[in-house]
Amino acid sequence: MTWFTEIQAIYVMWLREMKRFIRSKGRLVSSIVQPLFFLVILGFGFRAITIPGFGDIDYIDFLTPGIIAMAIIFSSMFTGISVLWDKQFGFLQEVLVAPVRRFSIILGRTLGGATTALIQGFIILLIGLVLGVHISDIPGILLTLVFMISIAFSWVGLGLVIASKMEDFQGFQLIMNLIIMPLFFSSSTFFPLQNVDIPEIFRQIIYFNPMFYMVDGLRGSLIGNYNINSPIYDLGIVMVFAVVMMALGSYFFSRSEA
């Protein structure tokens, strides 16, 4: 086993994700339509709203980073969980008997998932620009890219953990509703929870929500406004979370039996 084989394996896992993504029109459309609706309906509906603590703001500027995060999260979760598809269709066996390190398999798949997630994230960003989002400067955009990649890695990792523990799709919807939705609503995606009149406990809970740091970081880097922490601080937390999730995902995946 040489590094050449490993690189080739990473590449081919990535290539497979790309081919599947391009061929699955439905996936592309559905992953864009939902965030698009959020962006258009909420963005315009609340355009003239007054957000506590920020005074008069352009709501679409506030909302867009959260919706980009949403698109990336759904897409990368999907990649992680699609291991379940491979399990059910038997293809996982083909992957697991190959003379390739487990880490290369995961890395290839994660890179593939991250790429598709980034594509979708940028599509949302483009739509946002058309709708009149004000973005910051070039360094801000580069930092946004780093955030997007870290976010994608985190959720592919979580998807892998879930896929390694689940046998079928019965629990899939449950997990989406039980994990993703609460995390979203407590992440300040739609309004800043710190500044509204809710019980103190909720205000504290959001600091344990990784999604909060992702959305806040994207706000700080992409818009350069409305963020609570400095983007670098957010990035630190998001990166630690990404590394932990990838480590857990790799661990559970490498121990799974087909």
Binding site: V12, K19, R20, R23, Q93
Partner: protein, 327 residues
């Protein structure tokens, strides 16, 4: 040289023992068959040997590499054709093969060459750019087999290679397996519950039932152990006839089953009148009698006391596959 050795290999699922202390040795270049009914533990054994499942107890080596400690080395030496299709249906046939070639580290030239070769072999060149989800079950099977042969494995595992296929394709696949075994001296480990398949292909056969190996021998020896000819008969009082026939020295073996007796004899056709005479002297009426050359069916019956076909609940997929076969 032994290319596969297992030592008391065991796998339990929640207390149920699927594979029970199996110890086998398979020589380089051999075609070895695992013959047994559904649920006997054949696939579980293959999954352990190909590093897809962890054994509960025991050990095994493939090409001298330990399946627990040198998993990557083991994987480099094996090819597997799975029982259930293990293809990516969203990719084309060629892309599936290309994926495989890259995973096994084949270089660009070699990759193209081998993909073309195996596509020709299983006669899928014309369909190579069609998505696998549009393939028929049979084409998938052929592609699957082609893929298993791409990277010159030292040992090729074939799990029920012809399950659900029609007679013509089965013969073509058998011919190819033999050719590969001869030309590239690939060791082949196959499982089957088709007697004729084991009979046709294997140098040696291991009969496995309920996780245990009952016997391992060449197909010729196994058939000889049953007798040169097999007489099957049924009558109204099996036990009386059974006890009487046990006294006859020209009968190599007598086995009583639920509805029949089987006798292993030489020159079976000449023995039928003698048996009928014996039955009449006991005032027993023989309902049916026939003589034939022994098959592995008889061998299985001999060692397990059951026919392969009266197996209880089985994998619905297999049932489906057989129904498909009949149509």
């Amino acid at each position: 040289m032994d290319i596969i050795t297992t030592h008391e290999l065991t796998k339990k699922f929640n207390g149920f023992t699927a594979v029970d202390t199996i110890s086998i040795n398979i020589k380089k270049g051999e075609i070895f068959g695992f013959l047994g009914p559904n649920g006997a533990g054949k696939t579980t054994t293959i999954k352990m040997l190909t590093t897809l499942l962890y054994p509960t107890k025991g050990s095994a080596t493939i090409a001298q590499y330990d399946i627990l400690k040198q998993r990557d080395k083991v994987r480099q030496n094996i090819g597997v054709v799975f029982q259930e299709p293990a293809l990516d249906t969203e990719l084309t046939g060629r892309e599936n093969l290309d994926f495989h070639a890259r995973m096994y580290g084949l270089g660009r030239e070699q990759r193209k060459q081998r993909v073309d070769d195996v596509l020709t072999l299983v006669d899928l060149e014309e369909k190579q750019d069609v998505l696998v989800k549009n393939y028929s079950g049979l084409m998938k099977r052929r592609l699957e087999i082609a893929r298993g042969l791409m990277h010159y494995p030292t040992v090729l595992f074939l799990d029920e290679p012809t399950l659900g296929l029609d007679a013509q394709t089965r013969r073509a696949i058998w011919a190819y397996i033999k050719k590969m075994n001869k030309e590239e001296s690939t060791t082949i480990f196959l499982t089957t519950h088709y007697m004729d398949e084991a009979d046709h292909l294997c140098d040696r056969v291991g009969i496995i039932d309920r996780g245990k190996i009952l016997v391992i021998d060449s197909t010729k020896n196994l058939k000889n152990s049953v007798g040169h000819d097999v007489i099957t008969l049924s009558c109204d009082d099996l036990s009386t006839l059974h006890d009487r026939l046990l006294q006859e020295s020209w009968i190599q073996n007598v086995k009583k089953h639920d509805n029949s007796l089987t006798l292993g004899v030489e020159k079976g056709d000449e023995k039928i009148p003698i048996i009928i005479e014996i039955a009449q002297s006991l005032k027993l009426k023989i309902k049916s009698i026939d003589v034939r050359k022994p098959t592995l069916d008889d061998v299985f019956l001999h060692y397990t006391g059951r026919m392969m076909r009266d197996e209880e609940p089985e994998n619905p997929m297999k049932q489906h596959a057989r129904m498909y076969n009949r149509r």
